[in-house]
């Protein structure tokens, strides 16, 4: 079963073999409100853990989405260009942002698991 890990900045990465699917958590989409635009990186771009991976814009504001780990972008969710509201409707599913090739699996160890993240959100 695929395991999902979270950052304190509310990005998730769902680990499937040597790739990870990155998006924002349900909590994050709720805080943002209606998403109206998503800017995705180019396929092939090398991301650095904690660096900017994408930009998500609500009616009110633009927010940066950070890379949860380092690695190369292998696929982006082009559907979000036409239907950015998918990020609100199904953040963990169809609202994914990008897929990353996991460069260093050890980086995943520093991220929160599902239970840890849910506890973290309760403290906010």
């Amino acid at each position: 079963m695929a395991e999902t890990r979270y950052t304190k900045d509310h990005e998730y990465i769902r680990i499937e073999g040597d790739t990870g699917t990155v998006g924002i958590s349900d909590y994050a989409q709720g805080q943002l409100g209606d998403v109206v635009f998503v800017e995705l990186p180019a396929v092939g771009k090398a991301l650095t853990k904690g660096g900017e991976a994408a930009v998500v814009e609500s009616v009110k504001a633009a927010s940066e989405v950070y890379a949860p780990i380092s690695g190369e972008v292998v696929e982006v969710n082009g559907e979000l260009e036409a239907t950015p509201g998918t990020v609100n409707e199904d953040p963990a599913g169809k609202g994914w942002f990008l897929k990353i090739k996991i460069a260093d699996a050890a980086e995943l160890e520093g991220l929160m698991n599902e239970a840890e993240y849910q506890n973290y959100v309760k403290t906010l």
Binding site: D34, A62, S63
Partner: protein, 386 residues
Amino acid sequence: MAAEAEATTHDAGAPAPLKTPLHARHVTLGARMVPFAGYDMPVQYPMGILTEHNWTREKAGLFDVSHMGQAFLIGPDHETTAKALEALIPADILNLAPGKQRYSQLLNEEGGILDDLMVTRSADPDEDGALYLVVNAACKEADYAHIEPRLPPNVKLIRAEHRGLIALQGPGAEAALAAIAPDAAEMGFMTSRTMKVAGIKANVSRSGYTGEDGYEISAAATKIGEIWDTLLLDANVKPIGLGARDSLRLEAGLCLYGHDIDTTTSPVEAALNWSIQKRRREEGGFPGAARIQREFAEGTSRIRVGLKPEGRAPAREGTEIATPEGEVIGTVTSGGFGPTLNGPCAMGYVAKAHSAPGTQLNLIVRGKPLPAVVATMPFVPNGYKR
């Protein structure tokens, strides 16, 4: 993920935020409250900004604008009071008919804008000499401090801090208000009357700041909640927060003080010429008149324009505006996503040579030039009741 804008935390050490008379109702309705202009205000309700925006354009939205400053200027007769105010603003108030309303700007000696405001002449002959002002929440203390010492001894500024103010906006506003205040249906745009609303004495004006037909209703702070509650019983009326208020006024091409206009901009640069009537343009007699009259005659080096990005990416406040050749010729002062437009829109100041509608420009968003075109405003046709 990290938001670039929107302060949602309260500064430690800052005074506790003020509450409007409707504060408890917002909390009960499930609003997300944020600090705004010293008040704890609803930025959105559970419906969300996009739905609230569309609801207002299609039905009727109810806004709490009690944080705004309401005040009366009281003098012995209309001429005296009007002249006292005309010394501070460039609008023609002397010839404002009873029960009529005008938009204007409080100007500094350089012709820069200290605040923008609505001025209403009472419809009641017994109140001849009374003008009702509505100013921005963030500016109200500074405005009053500016106005008071500049009044002649027989004109007084009376702050109406005991009053609440709500706005009902949208094509369904007339039917919703007329159901509890039948006289409201007869009112024309930018007129004001005193009437009973749900049995409560209120000042009603046919105006607003969304580009839609609608009303602003002022009543005693202790009573405004009853009007609010009664209006919300109408299935076509929903509460709307500051988030949608901002996207609605942006689509309507209306200025937000502190963003699109401030002390560094004149009304002519801000393309607010329409708000300065002919007599005042000719006679002057307001702060900064020399500059503003010169700008009317010779034009300005920069001017506020509408901007329509060609793609889907919004260009926010502070975005640089450049020519296709890369020369920076201005800055975005308000920008975002227009839900009714179903795309991004913005306004900003550009060099006059690049201000004609249809001019191709680039907006520099996150370092990349995004093509945009100078557009006429409003971005969405207004629905005012003429």
